[in-house]
């Protein structure tokens, strides 16, 4: 006799009466339909958006845009951002971990973004530094942060994020008088280029200069 069947014999089983149980089943089934519709809508919307924006092998057309709009409608995205229904849907999606789609490294692998700091000392020395974390797990998360920095359309948010990262580095080097942050992406060689001996190159996209003062603790990033 298996462990499972021994346990099931040993403990009482909480059975609902038949009619009550059936009502509960219908109730939970209805909740599942709502939940699953949202899961499908999020995934469909993300896939249709990729097609509509011509990022896939399929040709973009108004059909895909219309279909994406329908999926967005299911997710209440046509309502104003402050609408309680939209807020409720967003909250539920986040609570269930279903607010993002499942296209990992698809349809294509994103650019490899990087952030490099030049630390300028009062005596003219210049050193380079990278954002500092203690563990590899946090290092992997930085990669996602860089994707956000690269893709946000909000210039102020981008600058604030980079300034915060620069400030975190500066705190470990308080004698530094200026930090230049260069954000860009690594142009990785293709397989054929690699076989020809080509190396990766770095393309700078944004450059920011920051100055932090040790005697002015308020000089950190403003939120």
């Amino acid at each position: 006799m298996s462990l499972l069947s021994r346990r099931q014999n040993a403990v009482p089983v909480a059975e609902e009466n038949l009619s009550g149980g059936r009502n509960w089943k219908v109730f939970w089934l209805a909740l599942f339909v709502v939940h699953f519709t949202l899961v499908l809508a999020v995934s469909l919307q993300a896939t249709l958006r990729l097609i509509a924006r011509n990022r896939t092998l399929l040709r973009a057309s108004s059909f895909w845009q219309g279909a994406e709009s329908v999926a967005a409608g299911v997710l209440a995205q046509h309502l104003p951002e402050t609408n309680p229904v939209r807020q409720g849907v967003v909250t539920y999606l986040n609570a269930a971990g279903i607010e993002t789609s499942y296209g990992f490294f698809a349809p294509n692998v994103p650019f490899n973004y990087r952030l490099v700091f030049e630390l300028h000392y009062a005596d003219g020395r210049v050193e380079t530094a990278l954002p500092e974390v203690a563990d590899a797990a946090a290092g992997k998360r930085l990669s996602n942060l860089f994707d956000h920095i690269a893709t946000t359309r909000n210039d102020r948010l981008r600058e604030t994020l980079i300034k915060m990262l620069a400030y975190a580095v500066w705190q470990n080097h308080p004698e530094v008088v200026g930090v230049r942050a260069a954000f860009g992406y690594a142009r990785l060689p293709t397989l054929a280029q690699f076989n020809r001996g080509e190396k990766e190159s770095y393309q700078t996209v944004y450059v920011y200069d920051f100055a932090f003062a040790a005697d002015h603790p308020e000089s950190g990033p403003e939120l």
């Binding site: 909480a14 990669s143 915060m164």
Partner: protein, 315 residues
């Protein structure tokens, strides 16, 4: 109409053992423990506020609350801590200890329901407060904890049942919970595979090359990958096919074991070649909980009683 309703109820509420739930509980508890361990050295740095830390969490939380004002964050917990006289830094540390405790309780199956709710809430707060640094593993862990919180706990393997003699739930609730998880996992793989198929780079192997040579996932020397480059197109297509056809071949009992092994091998490969250990682990947990719990009985089971057959009957 009555027959459709009966078929639907039969499809969703067919009795099942609670082995799937034990796998989900223990696996998700371990995942959460590994999550806490992996971020232990950076925890205070990641969740610091008021302009401190790597990215002050106030900024991330502002972005999250612009999306939805009711999404919980660590600042919610910090406000609760402040009411008890705790500083922000102490609350942030306490969140880590609560998560570790909840994950240990989940693994052991003590106060299973309470532990699942606490783990889900605190993990959600943590994930949303570093939302700009979150990735797939966080969403899958949230989803696993969300289902666990609503699942018919405690299961027969938990200490709640063994020591505290909590009654087991009716078998059809286990069937429902497992079916929901199965359908969700099918959607995950189908869309993951479909979007890969829509990208040219998955057909010629160039996306695999880029994924494995891209920092911080470049755990394998590129020279070694280049030496087996003839396999890359086939591997890329195989991954996309395994994922897209997942609902079909996992739904059919005859192919379930083979497909489960293929998927687990794929995730083991991702863990070893790209260093995504936590991601591979949570995917293995979700797969085993959804489809692995009835494998020991597969040989004896009627091959025509699988989920594909029941689904066909419903439609």
């Amino acid at each position: 109409m009555k027959s459709l309703r009966a078929s639907l109820l039969a499809f969703f509420f067919s009795p099942a053992s609670d082995l799937w739930l034990a796998l989900l509980r223990i696996g998700t508890g371990l995942e959460l423990l590994l999550y806490c361990a992996s971020l232990r050295g950076d925890w205070s740095h990641l969740f610091a506020s008021n302009g401190e830390g790597l990215i002050s969490r106030d900024l991330t939380e502002a972005v999250v609350s612009a999306e939805g004002g009711l999404i919980p964050t660590v600042s919610w917990l910090a406000r609760g801590g402040a009411a008890l006289g705790l500083t922000d830094a102490v609350t942030v540390t306490a969140v880590w200890f609560v998560l570790v405790s909840a994950s240990i309780f989940l693994v052991l199956g003590i106060f299973s329901r309470t532990s699942a709710v606490v783990a889900w809430l605190f993990h959600l707060c943590a994930v949303k407060s570093i939302g700009l640094m979150a990735y797939g593993v966080d969403n899958f862990t949230t989803t696993a904890l969300f289902y666990l919180m609503l699942a018919p706990l405690p299961d027969a393997y938990s200490l709640d049942q063994r020591w505290r003699k909590f009654p087991a739930k009716a078998a059809y609730w286990n069937g429902f919970g497992r079916r929901v998880l199965q359908l969700h996992v099918c959607v995950i793989y189908f869309f993951s595979g479909l979007t890969k198929m829509l990208g040219a780079g998955w057909w010629d192997g160039s996306n695999l090359w880029r994924a494995m040579t891209r920092a911080p996932f470049n755990h394998v020397p590129p020279g070694w990958i280049a030496s087996v480059s003839c396999l890359l197109p086939a591997a890329g297509i195989l991954i996309a096919v395994i994922e897209t056809t997942y609902p079909v071949f996992m739904g059919w009992k005859r192919t379930r074991l083979v497909w489960l092994c293929l998927v687990l091998a794929m995730h083991a490969g991702i863990a070893l070649t790209m260093g995504l250990y936590l991601f591979a682990f949570i995917m293995a947990v979700l797969n085993l909980a959804a489809f692995g719990s009835d494998l020991p009985s597969l040989r004896r089971a009627n091959p025509h009683s699988g989920f594909a057959t029941v689904a066909a009957r419903v439609t």
